[in-house]
Symmetry: C2
Subunit: 206 residues, 2 copies
DNA sequence: GCCATAACATAGCACTGTTATGTATTGTGG
DNA sequence: CCACAATACATAACAGTGCTATGTTATGGC
């Protein structure tokens, strides 16, 4: 059996260089095109095709990078003895991360990436689910509460808030609505109203 | 003082023709470009510039059209004796309208249209606010509830749901989470849990 | 040391939105 | 009534886009 010879290997440094340059151009609001991306880097336009298979592949890589950073940001949220506070803090971290780089956020949730990487969504939800489970085990939530559903609902609230604020319709102060909605949601899960309100306002530090 | 003469007037029919054709191409997933848009219509590419000032102007007109249709869809929601049900129905109508034409929805909330037409958002919120006021007057909500805030929160929930479902991360069944979140929100406003649940499930017909 | 194969560079293609330029049309003031 | 000025519209060109065809260079296994 003939095994084809592998003769040249891609340089991973070039790949990360392009991604970081694209991320930088995204931050500085420069339009990212094939030619502006490679300009000044010394590499030619073909590099985008050998490393990403085209511009769409680069955007996919950017989305992956965005989800990775989001997961890191959520992981850095402190775990305290109050899981309800932590759940609100995770929501706040979601907002902070998204509003810190709204352009990357827009790329992440750009349409037409359906099912491209369904694991990314689950990964994002994972720490939310664990925190919800913890709150349930501590007796803050009723035993019939589904942690995954609650995590999803928390995500929905955070995403709706940051979407409407980032794209313009709602002013930045509207983020405070998150406190009321989350508190109502957690109370409906069995937490005591005063306790829930205190935990949420404590975790909701933007 | 010299007043310039107005000698030729634009034909409004051409404007609506282009908008409707663009809307149709949006529905049929055809890529909308300057040339594909005017192809077959008999008008030349310059028409887009005389009527919209360019492609960006056409997208703005599309957004306006989208918000107008959304307002009409919300206006068609029946007003019953149960304002809490109506509030949930408005949320459901928002989802239905958005998912019926997800591409138009994406255009509407496309980024970089910040403050382009801030009245559009208020217009969208208006019937939500009125319904919230009605529920408050009927004693379903506490007297300290701010209808505008509650309407905004309802909008945030609906928008978060439809965004995550339309762009892929969440499956369509996730729309059912709206019932739990809205019920929790309305209960937090003073409505009785059983009554709120019944009203929301009644209004939440997708 | 071959030499097949991948990495890379160059030039061109079809397409995009936009604009410059020329023509046709039309309402109105004299 | 009608000449004219200003607008609507058509044609063609321009700069820029992503992408691909083609040629060149470099490299690692036999």
């Amino acid at each position: 059996m003939y095994c084809g010879r592998v003769v040249r290997t891609k340089d991973p440094a070039v790949r990360t260089l392009l991604i970081e340059r694209a991320a930088h151009m995204l931050r500085t609001r420069e339009p990212i095109t094939l030619r502006t991306l490679v300009a000044g880097t010394g590499v030619s336009t073909m590099a985008v095709y050998t490393y990403f298979g085209g511009m769409e592949g680069l955007w996919q890589a950017m989305r992956q990078e965005g989800f990775t950073r989001l997961a890191e940001a959520l992981d850095q949220v402190a775990t305290t003895a109050d899981p309800v506070r932590d759940l609100a803090a995770l929501g706040a971290a979601y907002l902070t991360n998204a509003l810190a780089s709204p352009d990357l956020y827009r790329v992440m949730f750009d349409a037409a990436f359906a099912l491209e990487n369904p694991a990314a969504a689950d990964e994002t939800l994972h720490c939310l689910v664990r925190t919800a489970e913890r709150a349930k085990e501590m007796g803050r939530f009723r035993s019939d509460i589904d942690p995954l559903s609650l995590a999803t609902q928390t995500w929905v609230i955070g995403h709706g808030l940051v979407s409407l604020v980032a794209t313009g319709p709602l002013p930045r102060e509207a983020l405070d609505h998150g406190i009321a909605i989350l508190t109502a949601l957690f109370v409906s899960c069995g937490d005591a109203p005063e306790t829930a309100h205190r935990s949420v306002t404590e975790g909701w530090r933007l």
